[in-house]
């Protein structure tokens, strides 16, 4: 797709890209970053309640409960790091929300059973959080 695009805009560049395409196969493992295109923020908001995240964290659009054990997530969408240690990126977050102990040994945050879809929904919800 990107090649088509470049070929149309800049024929010369397109040719260069075309010639280097075979080399792309040598370019490390395939990108497995999960896409959030099918994730639903509203479902994520509901899950944060149902899975019990609210018992430890406070969210800008949840009036009750506003748990006190974990850090506030009011501004989470603009935070650079997860728990001050991990990069706040969708691919990391989607793993972190369902299995924090694996990524952050010694944390009090338990593994929370979730399907892939649920983890994506929660991730999408968390990434758009900003204070009201």
């Amino acid at each position: 797709m990107a090649i088509d695009f470049l070929a149309r805009r800049a024929p010369g560049l397109g040719l260069t890209v075309l010639l280097t395409v075979p080399l792309a196969a040598c370019d490390g493992p395939p990108d497995r970053t999960p896409t959030l295109s099918d994730a639903d923020v509203k479902r994520g908001r509901q899950l944060v309640n149902d899975k019990g995240c609210v018992a430890c964290h406070s969210f800008p659009d949840v009036q009750w409960p506003r748990g006190g054990l974990g850090p506030s997530l009011e501004n989470f969408g603009r935070q650079g790091l997860i728990a001050g240690r991990l990069p706040n990126q969708p691919g990391v977050l989607v793993q972190f929300v369902r299995d924090a102990p694996a990524h952050l040994p010694g944390t009090a945050m338990p593994a929370i059973p979730m399907t892939d879809q649920e983890a994506r929904d929660v991730t999408a919800y968390l990434l758009q959080l900003k204070p009201r």
Binding site: G52, A55, C56, R66, G68, L69, G106, A108, P110
Partner: protein, 325 residues
């Protein structure tokens, strides 16, 4: 059961929960209450229409009609005889109808629920009224059979209300009230304290779980067995901490050294549907949050926040409680 949530409430969202539990009876005793409500709603609607018609006549009717409306006969009939008759019929019918709510045959199962700020102590009694099994915040009943629940309070006045299974019953200190409950089908039915009792009154819920009769018997037999002794290393550490950090002073776990009775019995906390008296789903996550800072979740409940516990200690305690099925 759905714990109270705080999602923004619009009219559409409110109607999604239609019918409200009060108008959705799941047993004979709540059925009576719903029938009475519907009859009253119907009657009030009729009267409202009648009053509107009379107002229309008074404003726009012909002189002849208006004279009739103001006449002595209309006042005598519609102002005195008909209202008195309707009220009398309603009173007699209502009293006959609710008589069944309080008559006790004596062969029903006996249970006791005592209100506390802000949770419920639950006891299952034998025929002579002796406690067979102690629990909290969740009442298990067999479906299709009436249960008599004795209502008591250990501090202030509370009111026990499971809208889908029966009417409200006050819990008054120093007094024992009795309420009959019955669920026709197995399922979970949410309940709520219905008498303002203090700051966290709105967060004082509970769950009634109805089982098929055979399942209920199995459940009870299982409950009378001692708690599990096969615990993971982490849970064993939690068991030790339970005594060391002070949980055992208020909470009881049958078959262990923990014999406190000031707070809810935790012998089977791992198998409960809800946490914090019917307000949170019971998961590892909510359990951890509750242990460390229950004050943030239910302000002014009697359990202090244990913010001094380390992550390891919290994990161990949560793991232990989770194992207490």
């Amino acid at each position: 059961m759905s714990p109270p949530t705080s999602s923004s409430s619009s009219l559409v969202e409110a109607l999604r929960g239609w019918p409200p539990p009060v108008l959705d009876p799941a047993g004979p005793f709540s059925n009576t209450v719903s029938t009475l409500s519907w009859v009253l709603i119907g009657l009030v609607t009729l009267i409202f229409i009648g009053v509107c018609a009379a107002m229309w006549v008074a404003l726009y009717g012909s002189a002849e009609l208006r004279a009739k409306l103001g006449g002595e006969r209309v006042v005598k009939w519609f102002g005195l005889i008909i209202p008195a008759g309707v009220l009398l019929v309603l009173l007699v019918w209502g009293l006959l109808m609710v008589r069944g709510l309080t008559t006790i045959q004596g062969d029903e199962l006996r249970m006791r629920v005592s209100g506390n700020l802000y949770w419920w102590r639950v006891s299952y009694l034998d025929a002579s009224g002796r406690e067979v099994h102690a629990d909290a915040n969740e009442l298990h009943i067999p479906a299709g059979r009436p249960v008599v629940v004795e209502m008591e309070s250990e501090d202030v006045i509370h009111s026990f209300w499971v809208p889908r299974l029966g009417g409200k019953m006050d819990m008054i200190p120093g007094r024992t009230n009795r309420l009959k409950l019955q669920a026709d089908e197995p399922g979970s039915y949410g309940g709520q304290c219905a008498e303002f009792c203090g700051g966290a009154h709105a967060l004082m819920g509970f769950v009634v779980v109805a089982h098929a009769p055979a399942d209920w018997q199995r459940w009870m037999d299982n409950r009378l067995k001692p708690p599990p002794t096969q615990l993971s290393v982490e849970a064993l550490r939690g068991k030790q901490l339970f005594n060391e950090v002070g949980c055992a002073a208020c909470h009881r776990v049958a078959g262990t050294d923990a014999q406190g009775i000031a707070g809810p019995d935790l012998t089977h906390i791992g198998s409960r549907q809800s946490l914090g008296a019917g307000i949170l789903p019971n998961t590892r996550a909510t359990l951890t949050g509750w242990i460390a800072d229950s004050q943030a979740i239910k302000p002014n409940n009697r359990m202090p926040a244990y913010r001094s516990l380390t992550a390891d200690e919290l994990n161990a305690l949560a793991s232990y409680l989770e194992a207490l099925k």
